[in-house]
Symmetry: C2
Subunit: 196 residues, 2 copies
């Protein structure tokens, strides 16, 4: 097998869920049937690596130092909503029931995957939450075991600094994830958040 | 969502079997947890596009005008074995029972996918098989419906030019594919090939 083909097959395995067989299938497909697509993907990877970073305030993916949402004067600076992933933030926004700020963890506490508070860089969340503008932190992590553990840990950490911390209501089914929940349920859970 | 991230998610969908949800998961994973891997994949795509082409004799992927196998004086130039994909060629080689040349179709006749003799560029196989050196063409396409139809079509085409055409024996189970067959069975099928 030519070296450049072997390396492409190996390199495709950096994608989550892609094993040796499907990497080979993907490489053949790209080289044989979609060289334009392969070129587009190569360019997209380069551009994303060059331009995408984490917002210095909310930690979500952005092309600027501070993302548009964090820079917007229309948002309520006294509320800070903590979510696991950008997709969760997008779901919160779709409720149109929240006009505060966000912090995106980009993950959740997950001992089995070796992801603890340090890997999540929770000191950055702490710095953001204690910058003087935030009056209430709303924990909107998932109601999975890992999401609950994350909320518990973050809640303890922030309450120890004297912050008011709330948790969105358990309107979501146990084990449910924001990304797979209907907007109405998320709205209700937001409205019914309780101080913890 | 930042434009470069949106484009990366869209671009990942050129990969076969990757839908919107898994493209998003892949993009997040690369940007958040494996930027080195993303860079490696981008480079591998560029290098493969720049260096990988089809061997002008056997049509397999190669970095040279003519691949090593086609250029080797140790191979028997009188035998030409036709396979569907490079993975099939690799299986044939593992039998150590064949020392002739190959032609890789890079596909099979598949009316449902709109792939006919023209899409497979069978005129290139015809030119290769009638270049004066080949005395027998061994059809080693899969024993699937599509592989059988391909063998039938190719056999008709080559016999019409006066070539001797054989088919590897139906030692493989019906519906079987070379890539998923044990080496012993493939060896037997090769030895028992019959003129058709
Ligand atoms: Zn931000
Ligand atoms: Zn060749």
């Amino acid at each position: 097998m030519p070296a450049a083909l072997e390396e492409l097959i190996e390199a495709l395995r950096v994608l989550p869920g892609v094993g040796p067989k499907s990497a080979q299938r993907m490489a053949y497909h790209l080289l044989q049937r979609d060289r334009n697509g392969a070129g587009r993907l190569g360019k997209a990877l380069d551009a994303a690596l060059a331009h995408i970073r984490h917002c210095s305030r909310c930690n979500t993916f952005t092309e600027a130092e501070i993302c548009e949402r964090c820079a917007s004067p229309a948002r309520d600076p006294h509320l800070l909503c903590v979510v696991e992933m950008p997709a969760d933030l997008a779901m919160m926004e779709q409720t149109h029931a929240y006009r505060g700020m966000y912090y995106v963890l980009m993950g959740r506490v997950s001992p089995l995957d070796g992801i603890g508070p340090r890997e999540l860089k929770l000191d950055r969340l702490l710095a953001r939450a204690t910058d003087g503008s935030v009056q209430e932190v709303i924990l909107a992590t998932n109601f999975t075991n890992e999401g609950e553990a994350t909320a518990h840990y973050v809640g303890e950490m922030l309450r120890a600094r004297g912050l008011k911390v709330s948790r969105i209501a358990r309107g979501l089914p146990v084990g449910g994830e924001l990304e797979h929940t209907d907007i109405g349920t998320i709205t209700q859970a937001l409205v019914e958040r309780r101080v913890v």
